[in-house]
């Protein structure tokens, strides 16, 4: 292999695959990056066996070939180099990297020792979507998920393919977020009721690596997902398990429906949290059918309260406690000027949504009165 690559292209390629490099010492080859010529392109790949990323970059291919070298060494050199061009030449298992005044011989490993990155061939389960729509939908549900060792099935985002809609959902059992995409927002061919769970780390990589300019093709089989554009492929294991049947906790009715401006409410929650305790509790009450009072008190620090003007439908409301961080996550996932905050008693789930957009909601369990 013999290549001449613009340093910025090589840097961009390495940056795209960075997070699929393994930190596991048992299989040193997983710390390596595979460089390989592929038709007229140079393919850069990493895998930690759960997640693999491949990025094609342009460069002058003088001689074809392939080699793997330690990712961190190559990335450090490319990041610190200020040369416009970098020349790479393979000498058996050594990669010789040259710029103007600089030369490195990087000890690599034979490309055949690199794990084969699995392919999804001829999958009938197919989805085509714009990156902005996919990423925005992931962002709307992401904050409700958390890695759980006890319950691996909720350590990811659910994709629920129904006949004409696609639902994304996430929950950590304290809150639940669901975003629904209508069929005009994606092209797809899926069996109705097909459900997959994408690991959290994979969703974070999807947000990081896909740029806005190319639509993403998604292929799924029973245990992996492939996301693909012209120059980028991300393939990940799925989480094996049955996602909780969350329909039952979605409130059917809302007892007290409060409409408030989102920004002042975010501000109020931030401020009032200054006095909240270890369990991050703040309390809410509805007064005089027009004021949402948010307050917290601490035995040692004192107390505080914030009054937010509100339009209230339904009875006033005595007191309900929430984890302010969870409430804030929901408020930030919404993007409308006004929001609906639906309360259902001090022990029943509350709901946050936009008055205009029925495609998204965020459900929040109160902190139980003890």
């Amino acid at each position: 292999m013999k290549l001449i690559i613009l340093r910025n292209n090589l840097k961009e390629g390495l940056s795209a695959v960075e997070k699929a490099v393994s930190e596991n010492n048992n299989l040193p080859i997983l710390k390596n990056v595979l460089l390989k010529t592929d038709n007229n392109q140079i393919r850069i790949s990493t895998t930690n066996l759960d997640l693999a990323i491949s990025k094609s970059i342009l460069g002058k291919i003088i001689e074809e070939g392939g080699i793997t070298v330690p990712f961190s060494t190559l990335y450090s050199i490319v990041n610190n180099s200020d040369s416009e061009r970098i020349s790479l030449e393979q000498d058996n298992n050594t990669l010789i990297l040259k710029t103007d005044n600089y030369e490195a011989k990087i000890q690599g490993l034979n490309e055949e020792e690199f794990p084969i990155i699995p392919k999804i061939e001829n999958s009938k389960n197919y989805l085509e979507i714009e990156p902005a729509i996919l990423k925005n939908s992931i962002l709307k549900v992401l904050s409700a998920a958390q890695i759980s060792e006890i319950r691996p099935e909720i350590s990811g985002i659910l994709l629920d393919f129904q006949l004409t809609i696609l639902k994304l959902a996430a929950t950590d059992s304290f809150r639940l977020a669901e975003k629904t995409l209508a069929s005009n927002q994606f092209g797809a061919n899926f069996n109705r009721g097909f459900k997959i769970i994408i690991p959290l780390k994979t969703t974070q990589e999807i947000l990081r690596v896909f740029k806005e300019n190319q639509s993403i093709s998604i292929f799924v089989d029973s245990n992996q997902i492939l996301l693909k554009t012209n120059d980028l492929e991300l393939i990940s294991r799925l989480i094996d398990g049955v996602y909780p049947d969350y329909e039952q906790i979605i409130p059917k009715d809302i007892e007290t429906e409060i409409q408030v401006e989102r920004e002042p409410l975010i501000n109020a929650v931030k401020l009032v949290s200054s006095f909240s305790g270890k369990n991050n509790d703040i309390k809410l009450k509805v007064k005089d059918k027009k004021i949402l009072e948010i307050y917290s008190a601490s035995q040692y620090l004192g107390e505080n309260h914030y009054l937010v003007p509100a339009k209230v439908n339904g009875p006033d409301f005595k007191e309900v406690a929430f984890n302010w961080r969870y409430l804030m996550d929901g408020l930030k996932a919404l993007d409308s000027e006004k929001i609906i905050f639906g309360l259902n008693g001090e022990n029943k789930p509350a709901i946050l949504k936009s008055p205009e957009d029925v495609s998204y909601f965020y459900i929040l369990m109160p902190i139980k009165n003890t």
Copy 2:
């Protein structure tokens, strides 16, 4: 006490004193900030008994008084508030903070329980200096110092007042930096040979809190230093101990004097460090009286080298090893386009300096050949 303060003023005041808040749980009052009216100003003070900072801010004083409240609670509220004005009112040991829709009652402690911040009265040891000159001088030596529990006397910066000059020095025994100020750069009244050691943390606070617009008055007695502008006072304990007599390690002659451009050398050190080992070693040699070669090798990763054009005075040079991080610190402390790198054999201290500026040097011990 009853005050109305612009939120930005209060925020700036709290930010200035933030780092002197104690994290020690044994004396809870040290986690508090003291608010106190003082003539027509509002004085904000914190102390951890080693370091105390006081900042005066403007505000409307409706009623005089003083109170202490937990710093982190007040700072969190002021940071998160979006009100233009904040009203503060004392009710015994409670501070009532109000903005438009918000009210907090912060439990405080009586101002009399707050430690008295020591004063330096009528000190005969006096210095007047522009903040830019002081801060630039500290920055030039700071990176050579490190906190050492075994040798507290080197865990700070030496200020050595001589008759017409002031020397600042720092060392961690692997390197040494010294900056000399001429008498036209400061006004002073000090006994010749007067030396003090300022703790590292204090020097970092000096860099952080003093703005460029007011000259700083410095007063010193045998165990503390006070830095003072119109609205800011920083008082710190000094380090008790005898600073090492470093004159003896300053090389008198230079065997091989190399003149190189600073930026390419920084770049070379960064790149070559990609292959350096756990002790951060990189090696240098001088070739053909015109090339400085920088190189490193690793048993596992490979090897690399960078050639930097140089003007060489003296014999070529076979091999000397340095800790690249220490070399980089020295190169960054210099600010000239070209630098002089003086080498004295593989086990003797090297020196870095600017060809134009004799007021600063950085001495660096080689890594001994083993």
